[in-house]
Each structure stands twice: as C-alpha cells, then as structure tokens.
C-alpha cells in the first residue's frame, strides 16, 4: 500500500480529453485480445462500439463476436479461452446477472478472461444508473474484482488485470469494475496506453494446455464429492497468491508507466486519522474532497479505498486501521436482509484481530443517486458521535427520502 501522494501522475501535455469508454476501449486494444465477445447494454455500449470501430478500421486485429446475449458472450469466451486465446468482454447489471452461471464456469475452468463491468443497478425497479449491486452479486463467483476510482485507473487496471489473471500460478478471470456513466461517459484528460509499451508490461498469453486436436485433452469433466473441495481450494489459493501479484503488478506498472495506485488499497490522508472511511470506486473522489475540507477544519479523517475486493485484502486493511478509532464504510450496494456487503466484510476482517474498534455502515448512491460532500460530512459526523460513545445505528441508508416511504 502507498499513500496517494506518492502517485506520479501523467504529464498533462501528453494527456487527451476523451470519453471514459473510449479510453477504456483503447486500453483493451493495447492489450491485444485475440477475441472480443460482447452484447450491448447501457452504460457499457460505448466501450464495445469503440472496439468494433477499431476492428473495422483495421487498428485492432481481434475477432469480434456479435453474440445473441450476455450469456452467449461469456460462453463463447469459454471456447476461445480454452483454445488458447486472450479474451475480453464487457457488461453491466442485467447482463452480468445473465452471465451468472458462466462466471462460475470460467473461474472454475481457470480461464483468465478479463471483463469490464460498467457498474449499474439491478432491476426491479428498472434503473440504468450506477451503483455496485451488480458486481457485488458476483463477488462469490471466483473472479478477481478490481474497482477503479477514475477513468485513468480503469484504463491502467485493464492491463494490470490481464497481467494478474494470466499469471501461471493464478489463472483466474478478472473484472475491472468502473462506475457506469460516472466513469464510462465522462470526458476527462487521460493518458492513453501505448500498445508497444503495454507489450513490455504484458507478455503474450501462452497457456500450456489448450483445446488442440493434435494433443487431445478433456476440458470440463465432472468430479465426485471426493475431489470437488480440492478444486475450490486451489481457486482459493490462487486468489491468495493474487494478493501478492496485485501489489507486484502495481509496482511493475509504475516502473514502466510511472503511475501507481497503492496495490490492494489506497490510503488517503491516513496518517493520524481517527475516523477512517472505507469505500470503493468513483465516489472516493467526492470523499477525498470532503476529507480535504474537513482536514482544514482540523477533523482527523482519512480514507481507505479498496481497489481489490476479490481477493479481499484482510491484512492490509487491518494494518491500515491500526491507529484509527472508528470506521465508517460507505458503499453503493446492500445485501437486503442484512447490511452492506463491504461493511460485513470489514467487520469480519477485524473480528479476530487486535483492531477492536467500532464499525458503522452506510448505503449510498443506489440507482445513481448523487453522493454529495454534505452526505459524506454527515457520515463523518455520525462517526465522530460513535467515537464519543453514541452509536444510534450500526447500519443505515444515507439521505433517505422519508416522504416517499
């Protein structure tokens, strides 16, 4: 982990103001996937449209399969990846839900597909706007899940995701999660990747076992109860190894591209922070601005931005919270029937540790509702209350419109 002040950001003069989806598609092109298979769904559409245009213009020598559904999109990549191809897809929300069965299959067969998830709410009620309920619902599918705060980070994570996913000791698919509309449709300055430099960072995908008539193998055999557990255990161990690989990839990326994000998590103004906020994705920009404001008023507040939700960085979180007094988790999802998924996992991470501090959770931004500085300040004031012994709610929906209930 690294403090974000250590980031060597790109030089402004070499940046281009482009749409997030364009920058992301460009990053995918630079990773040279053999096969792209995707089905259009808002707000992912611009990514696949740009990719299609790159292919049509001869800039991207990939096979692009225009499939009949998200289910087919990922299923086709099972075949392509097993045949030895580097594979890419992008989806969101309902599309990710339709892929659910295939997600487990891809990870269980250890096929290192990389997929962008343009995070969006799940129906009903129908909403095309951003939150994290879609990818959170897929948290147990065996995929690595990385969350971007900015377009630049989503771009960079795309190359990093391939590097981690395809490593021989990991071979685990990865989702790069970027907030729908907020990041996919925003125009901002981005340092686009360069294909040749990406090639230095990312070696060609050359799996040892592929579908090949000359060396016929059986893929996807069934196992009986005497062996199933061991297959899951091997996936579990691969994700454990990914914890180190994500840190390592962040350093290697820095060496080549000059940008670093802190690996598994980023700690923002964490020194001497008594109140530590924890969040993921683009909302962290608003949270950082709020922290800057509160710091200037003398409030000792910081942020842990989780970048890798799967694998979950338990040790790094414990370490980052060693000196905090209260944790407030701000998340764009809810596990209906319990609480937010992230706050549950943070509590679980701390339970058997020496970090015995109160943890409170807040659901924000569901279905695309804006998360404001005032909202984050409200969270911090509640956390300050907890520090003084007042825990009114362990978990709550922030800024509920009572008049609609």
């Amino acid at each position: 982990m690294a403090d974000s002040s250590a980031n060597a950001g790109p030089k402004l003069e070499s940046m281009k103001v482009v749409e997030g989806s364009y920058a992301l598609a460009h990053a995918v092109m630079c990773c040279s996937p053999d096969v792209v298979s995707a089905y259009p769904i808002t707000p992912q559409t611009h990514i696949v449209e740009h990719l299609s245009k790159f292919v049509a213009d001869g800039k991207m020598p990939s096979e692009f399969i225009t499939v009949d559904s998200e289910f087919s999109a990922l299923s086709a990549l099972v075949g392509s990846s097993a045949a030895g191809a580097r594979c890419y897809s992008a989806t969101t929300s309902q599309g990710l839900a339709l892929m659910f069965e295939v997600l487990y299959n891809v990870s269980g067969m250890r096929l290192p597909v990389v997929m962008t998830v343009a995070n969006r709410a799940l129906s009903a009620p129908l909403s095309i706007w951003n939150d994290h309920q879609d990818s959170m619902g897929a948290r147990d599918s065996g995929w690595i899940q990385l969350y971007a705060e900015s377009v630049q980070e989503a771009v960079d994570l795309t190359a990093v995701a391939y590097k981690i996913a395809e490593a021989e000791d990991i071979l685990t698919p990865a989702m790069v999660c970027m907030d729908g509309f907020i990041l996919t449709h925003v125009y901002e300055p981005v340092q686009l990747l360069d294909r040749e430099i990406v090639n230095e960072f990312l070696p060609p995908y050359a799996p040892k076992i592929v579908l090949d008539p000359k060396n016929p193998k059986t893929f996807g055999a069934f196992v009986d109860p005497s062996m199933f557990t061991e297959y899951r255990y091997m996936q579990y161990q691969a994700q454990k190894r990914a914890l180190l690989a994500i840190e390592r990839a962040d350093r290697e990326f820095f060496e080549i591209f000059g940008r670093s994000y802190g690996g598994l998590l980023e700690v923002y103004r964490g020194d001497d922070a008594e109140i530590m906020l924890i969040a993921m994705g683009s909302v962290c920009g608003t949270i950082k601005d709020t922290i800057d404001e509160l710091r200037s008023d003398g409030v000792k507040v910081g942020l842990i931005r989780i970048r890798s939700f799967r694998p979950f960085p338990v040790e790094a979180i414990r370490k980052a919270l060693a000196d905090a007094s209260v944790v407030a988790v701000i998340e764009k999802d809810v596990t209906v029937g319990n609480e937010g998924a992230l706050v549950s996992e943070i509590k679980a991470a701390l339970y058997n540790s020496k970090v015995g501090i109160p943890v409170i959770g807040f659901v924000v931004g569901l279905g695309g509702r804006d998360v404001t500085v005032a909202g984050v300040k409200n969270v911090v004031s509640k956390a300050l209350g907890v520090r003084e012994g007042r825990m009114d709610h362990e978990f709550e929906f922030l800024s509920l419109r009572e008049e609609l209930l």
Partner: protein
C-alpha cells in the same frame, strides 16, 4: 473404424447414444474438437480423472455448447486451422429447449460448427421429464399418462425446420439403425463450410422402456413407420430422403415401448394412435418417403 470414443464409459447397456458418438467420430476423424453440454453424454464419458474422449473435448454448461463452439471456431480461423472439425454433440433437452438461443446465434453468425443432436426425446439424465422433443401422447415423468391424460399433450418441435429457417447450409436427420447413412451425413456436414444440423434418433432404454437388445430394431421401426423420416436439406432445398419400401403401421413401433403402453390399455387409446398414424402419413407425404 477408428475408435475415438473409448470403451469403459458408463452408458447403460443398450443406450443408442454411444453408438451414435462412435459413428460421428469415425466419420469426422481425429482432427476434431467436440463441445458437449451437460447431460447423459457428459456424465457417462468424463468422470474425472477418466475420459472416453480420444479427441479434444470440452464441456461448459447445459445451454451454451453452441456458443462455446462459436468461440472455438473464431480461434481456429485465427490460427489458420479452418480444417478442424468443430462439433457439438448434444441431447434434445439442451438442443430443443434450454440451448436454443445460443444455437440460433451460432447458426445466424454462420460459424463452421456442426451441431449434432442425439435425440432421445426427453430429459433422460434427470429421469425422463418431457422436453419439447417429446412426441405426442408420450408418457414421461412430467407428462405422465393418467386417468385424464394420455401423456405429453403437444407434438414434437420441428427443430430441423428451425435450422433450415436459419439458412443453415446442411440439415439432416439420421438414425443409429442406419450407420452407413449416418456416417455419410456427418462427412457431408463436415465438407460443407458453415454450420450444419444433424438430428439422430437415439432410443433410450430407460426412458422409452424397452429391453436392451431392441435398440436398433426400435430405431429402425421409427423410420419404417415414417415417424422418423430420414432426409437432407442442402442450402434450404430437400436434397434426398431415405425411401421406405414397406411402410409399417405406427402400432408396430408404439407397442415396442413402455412409454406408449397406455395407448393400448386406456379407453380412447385407439383415437390417439390414429392421430399418431396421421402424423406418420403426413411425413410420408411431405418428404415423399414412399415409392
């Protein structure tokens, strides 16, 4: 005959499916990749660490074999290995019902995938539940014959017609009772570029309820009664049929199987048999099976 489907698999004695698979692979040869959905074939052939497959083979899910094969096809093209036969070998539940979306997509995109359905006319792996391939008035566990029911109330879905409607260049029906014809059709499918669909009659001893030694005879009776017409469509045109020299009454076929026993025992059964006979007669007329 090359043996690309090894003995020692776990199919029931008398199952038509391994016979079909052996004939398919014999025709296709070793330069082949097979995708199979979840089902009897997958279960009997790949109990890890054993495998009956001597060709490259992949199983993913129940409903996505056509999409998986599509993904293999684009990679083979990319590698310049377009001569590789890419087959799907699937049962009727996966083909007629749950996988039809992926199949439609694969057909429409024109992948060089030969989709072969071994059709045993119900969900046999899960215990003989009705599929949309189950024929009219068949007794299954989800359409049981009973006091007020003659079994499955609906006719069999016309899957080959659906393939023809997709402009699939080669569409054929085949039967394990006609092995030379079956092999010839698989070879022809592999020779014509683009997608193909072959539907093979594959009697199931447990689901159809007959003695293990009668498999081939029952499959032959399906053809001889005109309930299972053997035909080929090439580029949308009927290109040939297997003539039936001496058409037999449908009772000859129905009475061999426990799944139709109720038609001979229940009041009103004769009327149902007459309707099934009318279906056979319509097949004979439509495909010009006689004379």
């Amino acid at each position: 005959m090359q043996n690309l489907f090894a003995p020692g698999h776990r199919a029931c004695a008398g199952c038509a499916m391994p016979t079909a698979v052996k004939l398919i692979l014999d025709a296709a040869g070793p330069n082949t990749i097979v995708a199979s959905p979840t089902g009897c074939l997958e279960v009997i052939s790949t109990p890890f660490p054993e495998s009956a497959w001597e060709v490259a083979w992949i199983h993913s899910l129940f409903e996505n074999a056509a999409a998986v094969a599509s993904g293999i096809d684009v990679v083979m093209k990319r590698l310049g290995k377009e001569d590789t036969n890419i087959l799907v070998i699937a049962g009727d539940g996966s083909t007629f019902d749950i996988g039809i979306g992926c199949i439609s997509g694969m057909f429409e995109r024109g992948h060089n995938v030969k989709y072969i359905c071994y059709d045993n006319e119900a969900y046999m792996n899960t215990g003989v539940q009705r599929s949309s391939s189950t024929p009219f008035c068949t007794n299954t566990t989800t359409t049981p014959a009973g006091k007020v029911s003659f079994g499955n109330p609906l006719p069999k879905k016309d899957m080959p017609a659906i393939a023809v409607a997709h402009r699939v260049p080669y569409v054929a029906t085949a039967s394990v009772a006609y092995p030379v014809d079956l092999r010839k059709k698989v070879k022809r499918a592999c020779e014509i570029k683009g997608p193909a669909y072959i539907q093979i009659s594959a009697p199931c001893i447990t689901g159809w309820n007959f003695e293990a030694g009668n498999t081939i005879e029952i499959a032959r009776l399906a053809v001889e009664t005109c309930l299972w017409p053997l035909y080929e469509y090439v580029f949308g045109e009927l290109d040939g049929v297997k003539k039936v020299r001496s058409k037999k009454p449908v009772e000859d076929y129905l009475k061999t199987q426990g799944r139709y026993r109720h038609l001979f025992r229940k009041e009103g059964g004769a009327e149902v048999i007459a309707k099934i006979q009318a279906m056979a007669d319509a097949n004979a007329l439509k495909f010009g099976l006689l004379g």
